[in-house]
């Protein structure tokens, strides 16, 4: 058995958490979030987390659980509209918040993981997002400097891993997971299935195992935020 596979989410986080740490958590809304590792983070009792995640979960699921317990000091996100406790803590000044445009957030993670400390983007030029940032013209257009992000710990969710940490994601549950996995000083992946190394087709691997240090098999609720359907007679 590879040394990357752990039995429980709590064991997979052992020795990795400390107060004041920066944690990246993959997912978009509640889709493809590391449910088990978020629970394990809650149980670890680690405090003053800076959480980098596109969203903040809902009140009783996802990162919302760490807001309930006041373990998060600051969030870096692009959209947080689905969470009442978030709203309460933010308006009362208990929680710091940095909004990043979604694509800028994704690229900051990708860049951080790729060893790129900064990059220029058109996104946000002329808006609040650009305030205080270096502006520079390229080919007659203005861009702003954004910095790469690196986290003390990245927690991500994939459908499958082999024992060397090669990951395969499912549909739109991929989202922020690969760029955040790249940007973690340590990355822990929770998966639905761990297969023997060699079982995954090398051409089908979405994220090479070099970006993943620990793996744990989880159990998943996979909550749906907006259940939308169509009637059969329409088609």
């Amino acid at each position: 058995m590879s040394k990357k596979v752990y039995n429980t989410a709590a064991e997979a986080l052992e020795g990795l958490t400390f107060d004041g740490m920066t944690v990246m958590a993959g997912g978009f809304g509640l889709c493809g979030i590391p449910e088990n590792l978020i629970l394990a983070l809650r149980e670890s009792g680690v405090k003053d987390i800076t959480a980098i995640s596109n969203n903040a979960g809902v009140d009783d699921f996802g990162l919302g659980l760490l807001l309930q317990t006041r373990q998060i000091k600051k969030m870096i996100s692009s959209y947080v509209g689905e969470n009442k406790e978030f709203e309460r803590q933010y308006l009362s000044g208990e929680l710091e918040l940095e909004f990043n445009p979604q694509g800028t957030l994704a690229e900051r993670c990708r860049a951080g993981g790729a060893g790129i400390p900064g990059f220029y983007t058109k996104t946000g030029v002329g808006t609040l997002v650009a305030e205080g940032k270096e502006h520079r013209d390229f080919n007659g257009e203005t861009y702003i400097l954004e910095t790469g992000l690196v986290a003390d710990l990245s927690i991500v969710k994939a459908e499958k891993a082999d024992t060397h940490g090669n990951l395969v994601f499912n549909k739109t549950a991929r989202n922020f997971n690969p760029p955040m996995a790249m940007a973690g000083k340590v990355t822990v992946a929770e998966v639905e299935e761990i297969v023997p190394t060699g079982d995954l087709d090398p051409d089908e691997i979405h994220l090479p195992g070099i970006f993943v240090q620990r793996i744990v098999k989880g159990t998943f609720e996979k909550r749906i935020e907006q259940r939308t359907t169509r009637k059969r007679e329409h088609y």
């Binding site: 889709c31 808006t127 989202n175």
Partner: protein, 209 residues
């Protein structure tokens, strides 16, 4: 008669062309998908990481791993591909999407758009809106001409914090279609029974001939 929401969406669908890659925002823009002609080949992008978005699933076939940017359950098509968020915004920021059709709280005669934040109210975040308006080749706004208080949303200058500066190409409201041109907005189409005078009375922005 001003256009209804559905008629505005139908009008916006005329902005699409065969072979286009398209991003539709939340609200009226989402309805545009219902008006794409059967024989037109259009691929919808969802910025959470999907190209080739299909319709809503049949009841009982919802997949929590398959959602759109509005977090609604959806389906795939034969052409569908999935990718991570960084790749998704490479498509958007890199100018590979032909057109984005978005809602707005305010637009201005210089093409400024505000649609993410009202100071003093809860700020939910800009999501992918700033990336879309900065990176997509053509930006079409679909919105009511006036807000619920009857105040115009078509202004000389936006009062709300901007989503993007000088980025809007065309505005479709319930009263008319504007193009953003040198010196202001040009009316290129009127809703049936709406006069130029009606538009002028409901618009603060400079209207140019």
């Amino acid at each position: 008669m001003p256009w209804t929401r559905d008629e505005m969406a139908a009008r916006a669908a005329k902005e699409l062309h065969d072979g286009f890659y398209v991003n539709l925002g939340i609200g009226i823009p989402t309805l545009v998908a219902n008006h794409i002609p059967e024989d037109m080949d259009v691929t919808l992008q969802s910025e959470n990481g999907m190209l080739g978005m299909g319709p809503f699933p049949f009841e009982g076939e919802e997949d929590p791993d398959l959602i759109n940017a509005g977090k609604q359950t959806i389906t795939t098509l034969p052409r569908t591909s999935f990718f991570d968020s960084a790749t998704s915004f490479a498509m958007i920021r890199g100018g590979h999407i032909n057109i984005a059709i978005l809602g707005a709280m305010e637009v201005a005669e210089n093409g400024d758009i505000a649609n993410w934040m009202i100071p003093g109210k809860l700020v939910k975040g800009m999501g992918g809106a700033m990336d879309l308006v900065a990176g997509v080749k053509r930006i079409v706004v679909v919105m009511d001409h006036c807000n619920k208080k009857g105040e115009t949303k078509v202004l000389k200058a936006c009062t709300l914090p901007l989503t993007g500066k000088g980025v809007v190409n065309r505005i479709i409201t319930d009263l008319c279609v504007f193009d953003v041109v040198e010196g202001g907005l040009k009316v290129v189409e009127l809703a049936p029974g709406v006069s130029m005078q009606d538009v002028k009375e409901s618009t603060e922005a400079t209207i140019v001939a």
